[in-house]
């Protein structure tokens, strides 16, 4: 009793607005500086798109949020908790965050259903029956229930990526990170994946996504963040970002992208 009352004020002090707060994130690979002091706030139910050229640090930033990558400096606050503290159990933090990769990274030796339920069963200690019922419901909602018993190599790229998204959200994470989830797909398969992301956004999922799909970012994202050489150049509401970019480098980037 007394313990909880002692910790509660401290929590409240740090967990003001913002589900995710990054302050001064710095990361270098040897000589190369990949993230050069990144500050970013993401509120609950917000959809933030990270845009920028290849090598601008988008993917690295996503991986640092999920603690798949160590940082050289800075603070990562998830719901007010400093998860960049080395004393924090990283596995527990990762379990609260869903990630979808460019190349799906489904487990080829497990069926679609086992892929989706693995974390629920092993990490969240959910009974198999409960986990499977929930997974089937989710798979059904994205039209993939018929593939529950199939193995990933029987599925098209778009179907695999949708399974990967279902796998990431199956345990109800507080935050969903999408790392260029359509970049490895054939053009005709991009739509089905984006449609799923759109419906997640509409249901209020908090999403941070690195993307090259500018039209999609404009449509779905609340905010667009433009990264260049490891720094945030511009951070603006999506409409504003595309209609009236403030920075010269943003305009340059958008011009190149819209021409291509």
């Amino acid at each position: 009793m007394s313990g909880s009352s002692a910790t509660t004020p401290g929590r409240e002090a740090t967990s003001a607005p913002g589900l995710l707060r990054l302050r001064g994130i710095r990361r270098s690979y040897g000589e190369k500086l990949v993230l050069d002091g990144v500050d970013l706030d993401v509120d609950a139910h917000e959809v933030v798109a990270l845009v920028g050229a290849s090598g601008s640090g988008k993917s690295t930033l996503l991986r640092t949020i999920n603690l798949l990558e160590t940082i050289d400096d800075g603070v990562i606050l998830l719901d007010g908790e400093d998860v960049s503290d080395p004393r924090v159990n990283a596995d527990r933090v990762r379990a609260r965050i869903g990630v979808v990769f460019q190349h799906y990274n489904l487990f080829p030796h497990l069926s679609v259903l086992d892929n989706v339920t693995l974390a629920a069963r092993l990490v969240h200690r959910m009974p198999r029956a409960t986990a499977e019922a929930k997974a089937l419901e989710l798979l059904d909602s994205v039209g993939l229930a018929e593939f529950a018993k199939a193995f990933p190599d029987r599925l098209s790229g778009g179907q695999q990526q949708r399974v990967a998204i279902v796998r990431a959200i199956a345990t109800g994470p507080e935050l969903l990170l999408l790392d260029e989830v359509t970049s490895a797909l054939d053009p005709e398969l991009v739509g089905e994946v984006l449609a799923l992301v759109r419906s997640l956004a509409e249901r209020g999922t908090t999403i941070v996504m690195a993307t090259h799909e500018m039209a999609f970012a404009r449509e779905v994202a609340d905010r667009v963040v433009f990264l260049d050489a490891g720094r945030i150049i511009e951070d603006a509401p999506a409409r504003e970002f595309f209609a009236a970019p403030r920075e010269a480098r943003t305009r340059e980037f958008l011009a190149r992208f819209l021409r291509a």
Binding site: N66, L68, D91, R92, R94, A95, R96, I97, V99, F101, H103, N105, L106, F107, P108, H109, L118, A119, L122, V123, H124, R167, A168, T171
Partner: protein, 306 residues
């Protein structure tokens, strides 16, 4: 042997083509061009089969003629291929072989467990685990370098000499020596398999919140094992014949039995019998290994014939 492989290779193309065409579209009839190609291929296959059959027969006949025509053949046949001695020594040797099979089974299980532990130790990252990594590396270096027969002598005569464990049968020490040596080899096979699993698989598992151990057990190892199954089975076949070496410790196995029978009859036939029994024992596994690796190769080349 030559004939067999040529035949299998040549017959795959045309028959497969015909089968898949027929099942997909019953209305389809092969064009005249295709029919002429098939006739040509059939003719070629017949020719290769004939050539290899003839060459095999000629070679076998020459070999037989050379051996049987050698000046010492009569003596060799008498002391190595005496059917009466073979029959008389068979029960004892079979009894010994049963010990070999028991040792083999226990050793195989032991090898898998120890090798998995060693391989997992060697893949640990971080400075904290340096002692474990170094221990595993030292172990594999030592036992891959040391001849099995010396390990057998050291374990079989050295450890009982400590008098900690009196009355342990020698076969047990032989089994331990086999486990020590073979787990060093097999751990390297496992390690190769673990490293062949793409790092993105580990990344995906860890990002779901799975710990290092869970990731290893549920994601990495199942995929690694699949990749190295043929190599593992090959090591099993190698171990299958090396169990015969426990006879140097005096264990009453097939080789030791053959040795005693040989001394009894003043005839080497029991060794030939024991050798053939070992081949028979290993043969199903050898075929299975070959079949499995062939199947994996076919899958990976995905329909291409080169």
């Amino acid at each position: 042997m030559v004939a067999e492989s040529t035949k299998a290779g040549a017959s795959r193309g045309p028959t497969d083509l015909g089968a898949s065409g027929a099942s997909n579209e019953p209305a389809w009839r092969p064009s005249d061009l295709e029919l002429s190609r098939r006739t040509f291929r059939r003719k070629q296959t017949r020719r290769s089969v004939l050539i290899s059959a003839v060459s095999t027969i000629v070679f076998a006949a020459l070999l037989l003629w050379a051996v049987a025509g050698s000046p010492g053949w009569a003596k060799v046949r008498e002391s190595f291929f005496d059917p009466e001695v073979a029959l008389a020594s068979l029960p004892r040797i079979l009894e010994g072989l049963w010990l070999n099979i028991q040792v083999l089974m226990v050793a195989a299980i032991g090898v898998v467990i120890v090798a998995l532990l060693l391989a997992s130790m060697r893949t640990l990252r971080g400075p904290v685990y340096f002692p474990l990594r170094a221990l595993a590396a030292g172990y594999t270096d030592l036992f891959r370098g040391m001849p099995l027969i010396i390990v057998l002598y050291l374990v079989g005569y050295g450890i009982p000499g400590l008098d900690f464990f009196p009355r342990v049968p020698v076969a047990v020490w032989g089994t331990i020596a086999l486990i020590l040596t073979y787990s060093a080899y097999v751990s390297e096979v496992f390690r190769a398999g673990i490293e062949a699993v793409h790092p993105s698989q580990r990344l995906a598992a860890r990002s779901l919140g799975l710990g290092h151990g869970q990731t290893m057990r549920r994601v990495v190892l199942p995929q690694a094992l699949r990749k190295v199954t043929p190599a593992l089975m090959n090591d099993f076949v190698a171990m299958q014949k090396d169990v015969g070496l426990i006879s140097v410790l005096g264990a009453m196995d097939a080789v030791r039995a053959a040795q005693i029978e040989t001394a009894h009859y003043f005839n080497f036939t029991p060794y030939v019998v024991a050798g053939l029994l070992f081949v028979l024992l290993a043969w199903p596994m050898i075929r299975l290994t070959d079949w499995l690796s062939a199947r994996m190769r076919v899958r990976e080349q995905g329909g291409s014939i080169v």
